[in-house]
Point group: C2
Chain length 233, copies 2
DNA sequence: CGATATTTTGAAAATGTTCAATAGAGGTGG
DNA sequence: CCACCTCTATTGAACATTTTCAAAATATCG
């Protein structure tokens, strides 16, 4: 279906292959394997040997980490152009989390040795990877701080603002989170219980700050969220 | 005082320059600036422009992130051979945290353009950096999960185990955390209050699992900690 | 030895969670 | 097309964990 030029353009727009000469992107393209995942299907599981690296073409993935006791946190949602499987780049032996599809998803994949070989040949790929990993690391550090020091309400506000930035679509009504997200899913992102998320969103809905219908959220007043984020504790 | 060969050996043992040819390490050495920090002195502050990259030679640094309201979390403690200032590698504009010396510390430093130029020339440096950042990212994700899902006692146990791994010194009495760490400092690592840390450590001391004297902690029974980490919630 | 910083401990208070029950939305098959 | 079934969301109330507040004890440093 997709031809060579389409693939090249897609890859050229990704965080990892950005700013590279077309010949190199084409080399990467030739080494790539195309994959498809249906909704809920897993790309890999926590603890699996980290044997490949992926880029989302269309669709959305969800990375989670599961505790020995079964409880889980959402690490990140990944949309088009974003990479999955940083463990393969970083030379970790196993995947530190589980990644699965939130909706039907198309990916490009590379076996670990292939992508590591590309990085060795073209330092810019490694440098781009470093930039991606660095900004994800920073974001995770910030979440860690929020989880340590902020009230649940403020964390929920931060989580929503962050979601809007990563997966927000401007509409007439405001900013819509453009993939389905249940209260439970949201709670796993914000580090709280689904009940508290529900109560908080209900209260905000009453104030006209957000509205939500069955797994979809629209933010009407982003400024109010920002205000809640910075309120005195 | 330290001569060229000593410096080379030091650099060859660091996480970033490991496994590189000596000529390249020597090139990095020639470009390095030597720095010293006294106890409590800051290397850089959160929000400063990320204009250099550092490696600890001797001593210990502490990376923290401060919230707008003044509360803070400890991101990491850095010992000999470890890098500080990943923002410089990742091309972030500003430092996401503040780093300062826990004890008198010697460092090597490189201006951001210099270290980035080295990475561009020698992909292996970027790949090593990716490995370091990857494992720190993974650790932070794990802390995030712990903070989200575990009780304070288990988090304190995890924090202590992690400290033992990163800065533990085997002694006749057990494993000693080899730098001074107050209850407050510990609390900022575990994401709790200094009071809860004090209570918990006191209880463990009664059971002979740990002992502590003014800012130093010794773990007598690491296995008991592991057990607490995995206890049913 | 005095001054300052750190640690301990008790009791009160608060923030969220858990438990429980109901309501609503969507999808499926008769 | 409607009835049913399941998954999702809402809401109240009891409960629990942990924080906050307060005060005293202990240790270190000059």
């Amino acid at each position: 279906m997709a031809d060579r030029d389409t693939d090249l353009n897609v890859l050229a727009g990704t965080e990892i292959f950005r700013s590279l000469p077309m010949e190199i992107i084409d080399e990467a393209r030739r080494l790539a394997v195309r994959k498809r995942l249906s909704r809920r299907e897993a790309l890999y599981h926590q603890g699996d040997s980290a044997d490949s690296f992926h880029i989302v073409i269309v669709g959305r993935l969800r990375a989670i980490q599961i505790a020995p006791d079964g409880s889980q946190v959402a690490l990140r949602y990944l949309g088009p152009g974003e990479m999955a499987g940083y463990a393969a780049l970083a030379g970790l032996a196993t995947y530190p989390g589980t990644v699965s599809a939130v909706e039907d998803t198309h990916l490009f994949s590379w076996p670990t040795p292939v992508i590591r070989d590309l990085m060795g040949k073209y330092a810019q790929i490694a440098i781009n990877a470093l930039a991606v990993l660095g900004s994800r690391y920073q974001e995770t550090q910030t979440r860690l701080r929020e989880l340590s020091t902020e009230t649940v309400e403020r964390r929920i506000a931060h989580t929503l603002t962050r979601l809007a930035k990563q997966a927000g679509r401007r509409t007439a009504m405001g900013i819509e989170i453009c993939f389905p997200l249940s209260r439970q899913d949201f709670a796993e992102l914000a580090g709280t219980s689904l009940h508290t998320v529900s109560r908080t969103l209900s209260a905000w809905e009453k104030d006209g700050i957000v509205s939500s219908s069955h797994r979809y959220i629209v933010i009407h007043q982003p400024d109010f969220l920002k205000q809640i984020e910075n309120e005195a504790s």
